[in-house]
Symmetry: C2
Amino acid sequence: MTRVALDLMGGDRAPASVVDGALLVAEEAPGVEVVLVGPPEVAEALLAERGQSGRFEVVAARQVVEMDEDPARAIRAKPDATVRVCARLVRDGVADAMVSVGSSGAALAAAVFTLGRLRGVTRPPLAAVVPAKAGPLVFLDVGANPEATVDLLAQYALAGAAFATVRLGLAHPRVGLLTNGVEAGKGDTLRKDAYAALAALPLLFAGNVEGRDVPYGGVADVIVTDGFTGNVLVKGMEGMAAMLTELQPGLAEVTGHLSPDVLGGAVLLGVDGVVVVGHGASSPQAVAGCVAAADQAVREGLVTRVAASLAERLDRRRDDAGLGVAP
Amino acid sequence: MTRVALDLMGGDRAPASVVDGALLVAEEAPGVEVVLVGPPEVAEALLAERGQSGRFEVVAARQVVEMDEDPARAIRAKPDATVRVCARLVRDGVADAMVSVGSSGAALAAAVFTLGRLRGVTRPPLAAVVPAKAGPLVFLDVGANPEATVDLLAQYALAGAAFATVRLGLAHPRVGLLTNGVEAGKGDTLRKDAYAALAALPLLFAGNVEGRDVPYGGVADVIVTDGFTGNVLVKGMEGMAAMLTELQPGLAEVTGHLSPDVLGGAVLLGVDGVVVVGHGASSPQAVAGCVAAADQAVREGLVTRVAASLAERLDRRRDDAGLGVAP
């Protein structure tokens, strides 16, 4: 049984969509137990309306971090914020994972503050598994840290490779650097500097990749970028898919698995606990999808295995100059 | 009659795809005259192969800027580069416009070097007209300058608004800033600083917009970003559309106008001449599309009208504190 702490107040359509998402989980995933985290009377009123009084355990949390607050400051100022209480439940072993579809910055800040970080990660990135045409790939950072540095991109590369090893079963995932042209030397200053740094890591560096390589896949199993670009690209791709599906409804069968409702369940990589963050606009289905993503991460032992894979790569980093560049 | 100087040697599939593109233009656009710019014997051999000897005027240029060269340096070092000769033909009035599907950095450098810039533009951006669901919108910079500053984003906003006035017929286009969330205060440092700068310009500022607003449209007529993000997003959206079309061929009717072959004809805005740049992977159809985009820009008097609109906005910028923020 996986116990998931679910932020009742996070998201544009919360709390109703969160409660409805929890009810979907209860119906569809008998191996998952949801704990709602928020004002108990709010949870209870919504459950009563739905004829489901007392359906879930509710842990009280009476503060909310709004989308327009500075996340780090708000987390410090609000000890009773829903995402902080969620993180405490994970830290104390009361829950196996936490899920929020509210401010991703707040979830990140609460997770770092309360759960701490894995060795080798200073700013945890949000990693999404993109169902690319050539097969699934890990794409990160999709929005945790809008500002990046060469060192952060190198951290994402190592953490993303560790994630791909666990999730995609690849011993030597190929890691590509997202930029505006495949030739070495393309990109802004950050990318030009990061190219050499990534090539020197103990991983298979696939060189520069372009925007089209994210939906197509095939050239890299992990694609690394800053959280600003990653967020803009994911939303642009999802928007394009959603827009074309509206124009040609038959496409839904093909694009269904690309909708925000699925891609939304990104994992905060490099914190010492399972933390899944979804789109603010998440529907009940999307909330349930995030809970399912958290359950998968718990069952596969994601945190322990990423920590081990990351530690192993960090040790190799000290020992040698890297595996070299993928062909 | 519009005379277009066409870079024979630019692009991954050049020179053959360029010659085939020119032949398409000759067939389909009787009002356009193509001048091929490159080694005459290369042009002639390809034309002879196709039974079209002497079909086009050829202007000799014997140097090529490769994709992996530093564009600015290469342009200075190669006075006989195809793109420099193209730009000279435009400067001297021998051609009305130039088109290249080679290195966009080289086309940019040659254009700035030879044609000069319009008042108010220090680094010309590449502007694309995106056929968004709610109607066409101007998206820039899609790749001319991977590095941006607040001042450059403000220039793009003014130049993009001027372009939208000319191309889309909008007296007061709404200008949005691409970022990773709609709330003011979202984004990296560049975006946070640019928000205030754009709000103070003499234009209708629509605030922050997100990745999905590029394919959907509706919230802004002009969307401003740096050339790194713009390039990645356009390629990601195009890749998503192309990938879905491969999965569901019936979609081609819907996505046809979103293919790289069409979106590729981006205009270099803010140089004193019509310069159109296409994807390196351009097919003959894409080359012909770029020539058509150049012809349209010439016929609508784009450069003169953008210069006038830009000058008018720059004068207002001195006179008042802006039109204010769009509702």
